[in-house]
Structures are given as C-alpha cells and as structure tokens.
Amino acid sequence: MATATRDAYGKALAELGAENQDVVVLDADLSGSTKTAAFAKEFPQRFFNVGIAESDLIGTAAGLAASGKIPFASTFAVFAAGRAYDQIRASVAYPNLNVKIAATHAGLTVGEDGATHQMNEDIALMRALPNMTVVVPADGVEAAAATRAVARHRGPVYLRLGRPAVPDIHDESYVFDLLKAPVLREGEDVALFACGYMVHVTLEAADMLAEQGVSAAVINVHTVKPLDTDTVCRYARRCRRVVTAEEHSIIGGLGGAIAEVLAEEVPAPMVRIGVRDTFGESGKPAALLEKYGLTAKAVFAGAMKLMP
C-alpha cells in the first residue's frame, strides 16, 4: 500500500473534526491539494477559506487559537513557512499559540511545478523558531497518527507533508510518540537517520548495505524538533558512523540538527544526504530525486564512504 502523507492528513483531520468540536481548519485556496476539503465538506461551519492570502491565513489561525480553538492551517509548505514566516514567528511562535501549520507539497517531490514550489528550506526555518515543534511523517500511517498527536499537543506545530504517495512502512498497530524516534532496523556499523520521504528510501539503502556485509541501523526521526537526542546519541555511539537523509537542504534541516547535537555530544564521521544548497527545477519527482542525489544509491554510497 502507498499513501501520500497529505491524503492521510486530510482523512485524519476529517475524523478529528467529528471527535473534537474545537478543531477548526483554515486554508488558502488549496483545499483540494492540501486535502482539507474533506473536513470542509463535513464541517463547513468550522472551515475558513481565506483566499490566496497566506499571511492572513496564519494570523487568523492565531486569533482562533487565542480564543481556545485548535486551528489547523494548511497551504503549500513554501507559502506557509516562506511567505508567512514573520506571521508564524510574531503571531504564532512568540505568543506560543496553539496553531497547527500543516504544510503540504514540501520538498523536491512537488515535481513539475518547479523551484518556486519546491520548499527545501522549511525545516531549517521552522526549527529555528522558539516554541515550535517540527514533525515530518514518513508514510500515511504516521501522518494520520501525527495529525492526532499534534492536535493533542499544546503549542505551535509545523507538520510537514508531501505530495506523492509513499510506501507504507508502518502498520496500523504503530504507536506514534511525538518525543521518540523509532528505530526501524537495528544495526552496528552505521546509523542512518532519516525523515519524511527519505525514510523508505533509507530502508532500501540499508538492504543494499546488508548485501555488502554492512549492518546499518535505521532511525525514523519524525520529529526534528524537539529532537530525540537520547536515541540520536545512543546510535551514534554504538555505530560510530552517521548518515542523515532528508528531502530538504543539507543546511539547517535534519542533518543540521543531528550534526549540532553530535558535534557537542558524540563527534562522529558523518555524511548528510539532501539537497546540496541549490534550488530545484521542474521534472518528474523520480527524475528530480535521481538528479539531486536523494536515492537509496546515494544513501548507500554515503554510508560506504564512512566504512574503513
């Protein structure tokens, strides 16, 4: 089975709406794409389309949170974290308001729309904000669970969702803990930390490594902030070699976050897989991932580089 994280979000959101009257949803003319349309259809009284006005989207959500609601504000990642950064900073993060920014179409896998629509810097931007929690689900199961978890969590959240279908790696029994990075595969020689789209890619890379006799641990760092530093340090210590993989710039994202922690706590040789300080371009998602080095082959090669 394969599901897009945005689809799972939309479905979970509509279910949440039935369970919790305080959940309200805002969108900026992209409800078909962000999948908030399902909620809108079921709960029109609690759905607010502000039009193509992302600053107002975030500001209105802040006001709803201030009056006790649990607003989910959705648009594409580039228009949320990019266009409305100061609104997120001044009206949401600083006043610590309970706004859930559920941003879809993050990363290169937006595809044909090209660089203006491919947000590869949002984890860095959102992670830098005090009070902000940053969650990057790896598959549909996790996206649905994360949607529920962030609704329960009090405080601002940036939930990063993707456009394409990704293979399910978790099953329905999966229990999502916002503060714990699950270890998907145990290993001894190299620790592979991944988030979002790159988690299933990294599992493939671990298979390739196993064929070469390299035992790779795979950790799904679904919450980049607050980072589960215990797990990160434990696996860096155990494996002594570290690879990070994300559909995001290698600057300031998951790789950046882990490098910061390990440089202070467990210095270890490290390779970061991600977009290498460049903008994307139009193309099919698979072609772009290949061109920009976000493949199992690239993760594999990164790990092999670290082996003696």
């Binding site: 107002d56 500001g59 959500a61 802040a62 006001g63 009056s67 607003p71 001044a90 009206s91």
Partner: protein, 273 residues
Amino acid sequence: MEDYSKLKAIAGRLRRHIINMVAAANSGHPGGSLSAAEIITALYFKLMNVDVAQPRWPERDIFVLSKGHATPVYYAALAERGFFSPEELTSFRAVNSRLQGHPDREKTPGVDMTTGSLGQGLSAANGMALGAKLDGQHQRWIYVLLGDGELQEGQVWEAAMTAAHYALDNVIAFVDWNGLQIDGEVSRVMNVACIKDKFAAFNWHVQEINGHDFGEIFAAVERAKEAKGRPSVIIARTIKGKGVSFMENQAGWHGKAPGQEQALQALKELEVE
C-alpha cells in the same frame, strides 16, 4: 451634552504616564501613543466589558493593538484600569519587565494579543471574532486599533476581505489617522488615501470622526454595533503627539524619548490641560 470630564481626566493621566514611561526608559513611542489616548480611554473606561481579576475571562471584550508600538498608552490604560499597579509602569522596556516594548499576551495581564510586527493585528482579531461566533457569543466585541501608516501592509487588506467575507460584525476597527509615520507624512511616503473609500470598497461599514472627541467616539461605536452583517471601521482623525506642543504633528517624535527638560515641559503642558 454629556459631561466627559472624568474621561478627559483619565486621558490626561494616560498622557502623563506616556511621557513618564518613555522618559524613564529613554526609549519608546510617544507620538502614536498620545494620538490614541482618547480612543484607548473610551475603550477601557467605558466600552469594554473586562474583568481585571480574570484577564482571560472567556466572555470579555477583546482589544488588539495592531499598531503595537503604542504600548505606552496601552499599558497606562491597563494599569489605570487595574490590571496591574501603575507603579509597574516604570519598568517599561527594562530587562525582566512584564511590560515589553511591544504587547506580549504571555507576559502582561490584560493583553489579548501579541503584536509589534505591523499589519498582523486585524487577522488575529478576525480569528478571535470567528471564535466568538463559533461559541455563540454574539455580544462580545472585538476591537482593534490600526495605524494609518500600517494600512500600507498588504496583510491588512487580506484581513479586511476576510472580515467582510465572514460578515464579522463583531469586529470594530479604529484607524488612528494621524497622518504621520516614521519617514514623514503618510501621504508622501505611500499615500493610503482614500481610506474611507478603500474600506467601503471592501464592504465595511465606514465612519469618520474626530478621534479626540469622546462624544463622537461613543456615537460611532454605537452605530458600528448596529451595523449588522458587516465589520465596522472608525477612521479617527487625530493629532500625532496630541497634548504636547512640541510633539504635535512632528514625525520626529514617533519613536523618540524626551530629555529631562522636555519631559518636564511636556508634563507641565499636560497638567494645565
């Protein structure tokens, strides 16, 4: 004619607080605080239903200071209203103070929304107005004060559309139309005229008043409350720096503290008034 001498006295006290706070901090924004003294007095000493013992009482009326730099007049009113002691006003802008340079809803009792980055307050007010309507609280009023220069921010007009689109007749916005911003006259920096026509075109209920006249403020708010199905804006003609002769209509006093002698002179003028 109603007698507004009590309210006038309060506005005078707020003005003296403004001078004292900005002088003590040697920092802050006197001009746009002095221009809003009557509007803020009208809100906190007559119009707004608030409870100082429970600043977050869920049925209170709400005020958003979208032009967040006018904290001196805002804190002065909150203190005089009883949210905290007027003595605390001396800590304005100092380290560890609850009275931040710009409003902080987490730190200051009575502050409903954090602001300071201009252009964002109306959106937040709309959100609170939507929240009140969802909760069936049709008697709660959401007031917001915008600067005239602030109207240059695009988000204000995004929010103006949202308020009209969702028929937020519980939103009452004031524009402090003092004609000045940091770099000079609003009409020269980036002309926002015709403000009334702009709001009218956005389908708002629009009134223009003298923002230093309590009678006009109360009459306008009454009419605004009667305007069903539409948000209301009250364009209040004001004088930036009002009450202090050397500050009046001077852009230079937007964000500058008076020296000791200037402060004494200002206080003397405000005493006479």
